[in-house]
Symmetry: C2
Subunit: 362 residues, 2 copies
């Protein structure tokens, strides 16, 4: 298989001499830097990488990051002052005719530095980068699988931990702790631990609310493992489940199953969203599924693609998406069930295997 | 006191009609969005804010974030499709003559969207934004103080927790857990828990190494609290301290004290670095202090300024910096002591009050 760099260049019709990735200060580090270099550890603020059509590349970074950078299988140029960064750009880009940049993760300020260092034509190769990154290779799927395994294990453990009287943030803290003990570097994103009426807000994170009998509790979290991110949601009911709660849960589960059944190469992502939407909209809960069905995951938690009405993508083997229908009833509460899948030759594999039968806790 | 928006405009000589902040996908969200809106919760991918010289502003965000956005004291325009984002930009920017953008946190792709929506001249106001953000107001200092309080308390608690036999990552997980229990939303950055020879790598995070007698252990971590970030480092010795370890520790502490003594309005940031550097370079550890003395903290962990040779800044009341000298001896180990300070009218207040006497554990 061609390497990641070659696959990006292959998508470009134009004759591009080099692709320049230039990182700014955190959080504005281009994740493509990690994609191209394969590096796992290091901060790499202000660093960069230049990649060539033959699949080779060179890293520029500060002395402080030199040891980390050397773990990549490519030459490393170290600098000790900021102006040496521009010297490097000048030297590398001066003679080139056409340069590609990743506009979706390059700051405008870094763009201006590139622009100032060469007369070459600058073209935006962000679509080619996004499309290449959206089909994960073997190493990426291994890392994503491990990130999913960690999150799934913790999801199952939490059913013993959650009890009425605990506060939302205590559950969030416990999830993070257990993921780290299983090998996660960090949370993949801010954990959502929302209970009762808070569970009706899809983007609420967690707070001081005390978990009570009759609550839904929505746990939405993931592990960062070797720079790759998982994303799982499980919803539990505390104490005793009302009929309405059961109907909500079963509807979401059916919507998810209908979506999962459809996933295979050649299917449009937006159609999968539609199927889940239809399951929910054919019930009393019509109109309460208020977001897209899923998003791609990888180095970023929203990795550039989605299963939703506004995204134009046809599934191919190696794509990894979340599948997360939900029903949100203001003041009452919400249910979401989310798994991560990888598209295979014939369908999909579910990477998050935590139990999702309706579960009443406490 | 003028509001944050007015203070940014005041720094610009030019007659700017509006400043546009446009967020991309995570992690490429401009932290200035939070600075201007004051919002604490919400994801705000793809959202934006337009600010005017009179101190008013308007938010544009997706329906999903509407409830979160309404917590800001300004109008909220919601969109449900991506093309409505461009319509909003067109409508708001069409008649203007001069627009400011924050090049250091705006992606090149978002810049192109702004560029395409108006014939106005676009100027880079990132320096004015950075200078304004570098002087924290009362609310910001309160949040930073609380973030520092959480980190300091956990630093002191860890002296009871750390024992030979524990692995580095177990210590990192415990730190994160305890900070969350004290009210942190998340780690301010990936915790460094480095032991033995690993402590000689300033940017190592944590791994599987077992903590042993004779080790240095460097703990460098911080709390995210209401979007503000603290950053503390404490170094402990395990079992028994050798003479060389004691000399290293005392030298770093002296360098930090010399730096702290100098901090007051009117002093150049680079001079403070120099003083710490001179303390270290006048000992047997000459040449082993290999990074800048400190960086500003705030919404970002490296918030745009620094106390280091390459940064041109004169201290003013309200600036908040880390002060973190270190000595790193390859193969042997490293010592770093870091506190966060706010510049006051006459000197500085130290926001991280954890004990820093040489401490031997286990």
């Amino acid at each position: 298989m061609k390497n990641r760099i070659e696959r990006i260049f292959e998508k470009e019709d134009e004759d591009i001499d080099a692709i320049v990735i230039l990182n700014s200060t955190k959080p504005h580090v281009d994740l493509t830097f990690y994609y191209i270099t394969g590096l796992i550890q290091g901060e790499f603020e202000g660093s960069g990488v230049i990649a060539y059509p033959d699949g080779k590349a060179e890293i520029m970074t500060s002395r402080l990051e030199e040891e980390s950078a050397k773990k990549a299988d490519m030459p490393v140029h170290t600098i000790s002052k900021t102006d040496e960064r521009e010297e490097w750009l000048n030297e590398k880009l001066d003679d080139l005719n056409k340069i590609g940049v990743n506009s979706s993760e390059l700051t405008y300020s870094a763009y201006k530095k590139i622009r100032g260092s060469t007369d070459a034509e600058i073209v935006d190769v962000s679509d080619s980068i996004a499309e290449t990154r959206n089909i994960k290779d073997e190493e990426e799927i291994e890392r994503l699988s491990e990130a999913c395994r960690i999150a799934s294990k913790v999801a199952e453990e939490m059913t013993d931990f959650i009890k009425p009287g605990l506060k939302e943030y205590q559950v969030a803290a416990e999830i993070s702790y257990r993921m780290k003990k299983l090998g996660a570097t960090a949370d993949a994103f801010d954990t959502i631990s929302s209970s009762g009426p808070n569970s009706a807000e899809p983007h609420y994170t967690s707070g001081n609310r005390v978990i009570q009998e009759g609550d839904f509790i929505v746990l939405d979290f993931g592990a960062l493992y070797k720079r790759y991110r998982s994303d799982i949601t499980r919803t539990y009911i505390i104490g005793e489940a009302s009929d309405k709660q059961r109907r909500m849960y079963e509807t979401v589960l059916k919507a998810q199953e209908a979506a999962l059944d459809m996933i295979k190469p050649g299917v449009e992502g937006s159609k999968i969203h539609e199927v889940a939407q239809e399951v929910i909209d054919s019930t009393e809960f019509e109109g309460y599924f208020t977001h897209g069905l899923g998003h791609s995951i990888g180095l970023a938690i929203h990795d550039g693609s989605g299963l939703s009405p506004n995204v134009d993508v046809v599934l191919q083997p190696g794509m990894v998406y979340t599948v997360e229908p939900g029903i949100y009833i203001p003041e009452f509460g919400g249910v979401r069930i989310e798994d991560d899948i990888v598209v295979t030759e014939k369908g999909c594999d579910i990477l998050t295997d935590a139990n999702k039968d309706l579960t009443v806790l406490g």
